[in-house]
Symmetry: C2
Subunit: 204 residues, 2 copies
């Protein structure tokens, strides 16, 4: 059947099918859309893809994503940001999620993943040494462990907590609060979340 479609279309369907969560039908739909629309749309996407890896790099200090032209992340170099408070996150997009709250004035440190023995990701693949060095250099007073609430995120937080206690026993180490998300009915909350919500209950 495959040969019923032009090779260039098949090859595009193939490449689009590598995107996360995109099956053959979705890839077909995307490809056909791009074919039916003016070629300008496919061209612009093509150009954006070609320039992606050239024009984006990781900040050497925080490992957030920055323009290739930048030295260091503006969220770090900005003098209004408190360098003594560091939120440790797994991925660069987590920085954006926290920034959207508009509540955090510290700086970030992107680990580049979470400890996951199944996926062959040990602590040595994460930007942990760089974190320990920043803590010394910037005289960090608090590290907020903002890894995901997954098994991997929890293991990573636990691992970091122990490492940090070793190198800076007096530094405050905190973890994002766990509890009922806004807008969720109690009856739909899972048991573990409810347990966390009970344990972390706040006096009024």
């Amino acid at each position: 059947m495959a040969s019923l479609l032009p090779a260039a279309l098949l090859s595009l369907i193939d490449e689009l099918g590598k995107l996360p969560g995109v099956g053959p039908r979705t890839a077909e739909r995307y490809a056909y859309y791009l074919l039916r629309e003016e070629s300008r749309i496919a061209q612009k996407l093509s150009t954006a893809l070609r320039e992606l890896h050239v024009n984006v790099k990781h900040c050497p200090k925080t490992f957030a994503l920055i323009d290739a032209s930048q030295e260091v992340s503006p969220l770090y170099s900005d003098s209004s940001r408190d360098k003594t408070v560091v939120a440790v996150v797994e991925e660069p997009l987590d920085v954006i999620a926290l920034e959207r709250t508009g509540q955090f004035k510290g700086t970030y440190h992107v680990l580049g993943g979470a400890i996951s023995p199944i996926d062959g990701v040990g602590p040595e693949k994460l930007h942990v040494p760089e974190l320990l060095q920043r803590i010394k250099e910037d005289a960090v007073e608090e590290v907020i462990l903002a890894t995901n609430a997954s098994v991997e995120g929890e293991s990573t937080a636990l691992f970091l907590q122990r490492q940090l206690r070793d190198i800076a026993p007096d530094m405050r180490v905190s973890r994002l609060a766990r509890g009922i998300p806004v807008g969720i009915d109690l009856e739909y909350a899972d048991q573990i979340t409810l347990t966390h919500a009970l344990e972390g209950r706040q006096s009024l």
Copy 2:
């Protein structure tokens, strides 16, 4: 917030967001995936996109999609295909769907859409004159109207039925059967489908 991400990443998210059914979050996920993987994956997708419009064209006879190097669709030029039977479909991918059945040995004619006054698509935007010409040239004996079972597909079928009766009153014009799809319980079938299934009932 936007400026928190590198311009090249934002531009890619923007372009990916133009794909059908892709919202900002999905576009972010695709873009970040492409950034995290080896640059080869983004490069190959970029190349496939650049070559799409260059290497794919429409068959001048059937308007199916073909390689730019091909003269005419192999589904038409193949001498084993019966040129006196023409299945009329809306879009090129409909050809693939029908070919997958392995049951059809005639040829195809792709209209390039369906009549839809709301979207400003009148019959003049479809490959109708080319269909009428083929009917004469190839001495077509049967036209199967295989447009979608939507309002637009039905209107298009009705329009074509009238046109065909005018130019070839004795030619057989048929429509794909409508009824209960395989695997669907009667209780979940909608009223219109059930009505069609009753009207089109087959003697055993």
